[in-house]
């Protein structure tokens, strides 16, 4: 089994440990990972803000970079949604670019989905030793349309088992929204406050959040408030629970 790693720009820049954990887990389950270094951004900021012609070259570039990979795996739902839901419309039907983008959209998976759907991994065996007593989970909005809430919820339930504490309003946006967070910081702040109050209600000591944007937002809010709650990506949780060695991130 072989897969290309689409690291996404936020994870590349801010969360290299998540990338390292993904690679460690994928290798553990017998998958060979390739990381093409020409990759940059999926163009989502441009697309979302009404600049599709600025997004198109980036989508096309990714499609070409990954054209020879059997599968592509990424840590982020929103970058996947960009490619899977909006990539095709940026190109003329019948064009070579469109064909490549369609192929990428088809073979692009989120990390956990790749484990379960492609590598046929049993999630109940992935986290034998949990680093926390009570684990909760935030559903990233951009999963909508690519991973239904119920599917994502069920995966986490299987992975965590009895220590899983569902988050109230788990599918409500945390207030990130890309440029929105800095553009409408007061509204973003109110949304984040509501998310944090839901988190407090769970009494959890660990939060699983697979979206780098949501994580920056939620973790940033927790840190400002000095709230002791650890935030991890599913890949980090599995790597740690399976005792896989991760490189020291300098």
């Amino acid at each position: 089994m072989q897969a290309g790693l689409f690291i996404t720009c936020l994870t590349d820049t801010f969360y290299p440990r998540v990338g390292a954990a993904m690679v460690a887990v994928l290798r553990h389950f017998g998958c060979e990972v390739r990381f093409p270094s020409q990759q940059t951004c999926c163009g989502q900021p441009a697309y979302n803000n009404g600049l599709p012609t600025d997004a198109a070259p980036l989508v096309e570039k990714l499609a070409r970079i990954f054209q020879h990979d059997r599968y592509v795996v990424s840590p982020s739902a929103s970058c996947n949604a960009m490619i899977k839901l909006h990539g095709a419309e940026l190109f003329d039907p019948g064009s070579e670019s469109r064909r490549l983008v369609d192929i990428l959209a088809d073979k692009l998976h989120d990390f956990t989905g790749f484990l379960t759907d492609v590598l046929d991994v049993d999630l109940t065996r992935c986290a034998p030793a949990l680093p926390a007593q009570r684990v909760t989970w935030h559903y990233s909005c951009h999963c909508r349309g690519i991973i239904p809430f119920e599917t994502a919820f069920e995966r986490i339930r299987r992975l965590i088992g009895s220590r899983f504490v569902p988050l109230p309003r788990a599918d409500q946006c945390c207030g990130f929204g890309g440029a929105f967070a800095a553009e409408f910081e007061q509204i973003s702040d109110a949304m984040l406050e509501d998310k944090l109050s839901c988190l407090r209600q769970t009494g959890a000591d660990l939060l699983i959040c697979d979206e780098a944007g949501c994580r920056m937002n939620i973790e940033g809010g927790l840190h400002r408030r000095k709230h002791p709650l650890t935030v991890v990506h599913t890949a980090e949780l599995i790597a740690e629970a399976l005792g896989l060695p991760l490189p020291e991130i300098p």
């Binding site: 690291i7 720009c9 994870t11 590349d12 820049t13 801010f14 969360y15 290299p16 990338g19 390292a20 690679v23 990381f35 270094s37 940059t40 951004c41 900021p45 441009a46 697309y47 979302n48 803000n49 009404g50 600049l51 599709p52 600025d54 997004a55 980036l58 909005c141 909508r144 349309g145 309003r169 599918d171 409500q172 946006c173 207030g175 990130f176 929204g177 890309g178 440029a179 929105f180 967070a181 800095a182 553009e183 409408f184 910081e185 007061q186 509204i187 973003s188 702040d189 109110a190 949304m191 984040l192 509501d194 920056m216 937002n217 940033g220 809010g221 400002r224 490189p247 991130i249 300098p250």
Partner: protein, 467 residues
């Protein structure tokens, strides 16, 4: 009531009001939970949503045909029709009808369209008294306030505020008891129903095949409005048409459940023409004002799907932005996610072009919409329109274009990563930044720190063979 000039100012004002925030969060969360339960109560809500979408799209694609059929049927029934191309025309038509019948007192049932056209102001200017008879609207009228929600217009007022308004405006003792307040309102309204000769209502569905107008109500006031006064004027946007009664039934199934978690509203009126000979009640003169006011333009443009909207407010109740700022912050008649589209397109508001940007595009509204309006996608379309016309925010498109240009070359991208790291790391303590530089300054102005990028990116670690 004055409206602050910018969306941000209005939002800030709302956010500073803790009582308002709690009231809105509580009301919307409960309503959303009930709506979800009511949807689960249906055997296959997704199939029904698809059907409703199909009915709406089919009707909008053939609007001339169904409008003509509706108008022909109204004529046959003896209903007078007024076609209004603008809000002013619509108001003028109602004023003319009132004058024709020498009506000086009107009763009115809740209608968002009449809010959009500012009908009450036009009537008062023409010397015609008008009383809102839905409890929420009645309360707002007393206070010269505006609705902040599509289906519960006074959601921004708590019980004490309602009691206080009644005491001040109706000269009654302050009683913070909902039953007592309803009794007071009822007594006040009964007199109005007796004396009014003109009733004004909106329309929830207009059935082309029969010329029937459908009204959904919960407070019994709709019954008084449509049965007692001599003249009934129903005002409708031209998008309210459905081809058949069977189609109206689909809409009703979804409307009640999505708006108020009801299978059907308490009163659902099917009014087919004025009072006939031998009938005991109902208006003897019935008028329907069909309003365009920008809708044809929307139909011809890229946002036509907003015309599917049935004003159920499910998108407001689920929206985390609405839950935070409430309805008045939007500045116009239509708040919430759908308001971010309808306000710039239809009704206007100060700083309306900011509205489509005040969204995280989280998609909750699309999930809750019974007629499947892809609101996030339409917001993106609107941002696209603005960018093409060089309207809307100025710095954002420039900054993003520049960032995308940087990302088009891996070399430039890596260089940018390095610069970002160099800029951010010195500002950090314990790998966190509490005051970020522009354009990220807003990030840390909120109660939120920014993580410092680690010394090495994933790609560097990979290149060094450490992963």
């Amino acid at each position: 009531m004055t409206v602050l000039p910018t969306f941000r100012q209005r939002a800030a004002e709302a956010l500073a009001d803790q009582r308002l925030r709690l009231a809105i969060l509580d009301a919307t969360t409960q309503r959303d939970a009930k709506r979800r339960a009511a949807w689960r109560d249906l055997p296959d809500v997704q199939a029904l949503r698809l059907l409703a979408r199909q009915i709406k799209d089919h009707t909008l694609d053939n609007l001339d045909h169904y409008l003509n059929q509706f108008i022909d049927n109204l004529r046959r029934l003896g209903v007078e029709i007024h076609l209004a191309s603008s809000a002013d025309d619509a108001n003028a038509a109602v004023v003319a009808i009132a004058r024709q019948f020498h009506c000086t007192d009107a009763v009115k049932a809740k209608s968002m369209l009449t809010e959009e056209t500012h009908l009450n102001r036009a009537l008062l200017d023409a010397g015609i008294n008008v009383v809102e008879t839905d409890l929420g609207e009645f309360l707002l009228q007393l206070d010269d306030d505006r609705p902040s929600h599509l289906t519960c217009p006074a959601v921004h007022k708590d019980l004490d505020a309602c009691a206080e308004t009644f005491a001040r405006k109706l000269d009654v003792p302050f009683v913070a008891d909902p039953h007592a307040l309803v009794a007071i309102a009822r007594k006040t309204m009964r007199d109005k129903f007796r004396s009014a000769t003109l009733a004004i209502t909106g329309v929830n569905c207009a059935v082309a095949e029969s010329g029937t107008i459908v009204l959904v109500m919960n407070e019994g006031n709709g019954r008084f409005c449509t049965l007692a006064p001599r003249v009934h004027v129903a005002m409708m946007g031209l998008e309210k048409i459905v081809p058949s009664l069977a189609d109206a039934a689909v809409m009703l199934k979804l409307l009640g459940r999505s708006a108020t978690a009801q299978r059907l509203t308490v009163d659902t009126h099917f009014i087919t023409g004025p009072r006939r000979d031998g009938e005991l009640d109902g208006a003897s003169h019935m008028h329907v004002v069909i309003v365009d006011a920008g809708r044809s333009d929307i139909l011809a443009g890229t946002h036509r799907h907003v015309l599917r909207c049935i004003r159920c407010a499910a998108c407001l109740n689920i929206c985390p932005v609405y839950r935070s700022v409430g309805g008045h912050a939007y500045g116009g008649v239509y708040p919430g996610p759908i308001g971010k589209l309808l306000t710039p397109l239809l009704a206007g508001a100060p700083d309306a072009e900011t509205l489509p940007h005040a969204s995280t595009l989280c998609g909750a509204c699309y999930e809750a919409c019974p007629v499947m309006i892809d609101i996030p996608q339409l917001l993106i379309e609107m941002r696209r329109d603005q960018a093409a016309r060089r309207r809307g925010p100025r710095w954002k498109p420039r900054l993003i274009r520049w960032a995308m240009w940087l990302a088009r070359s891996p070399r430039r991208f890596v260089l940018t990563q390095r610069i970002v790291r160099r800029l951010l790391r010195p500002r950090s303590a314990d790998e966190w930044i509490s005051r970020a530089p522009p354009p990220l300054a807003g990030w840390t102005r909120a109660q939120r720190d920014l993580p410092a990028p680690p010394p090495k990116s994933f790609r560097q670690l990979w290149k060094e063979g450490r992963i």
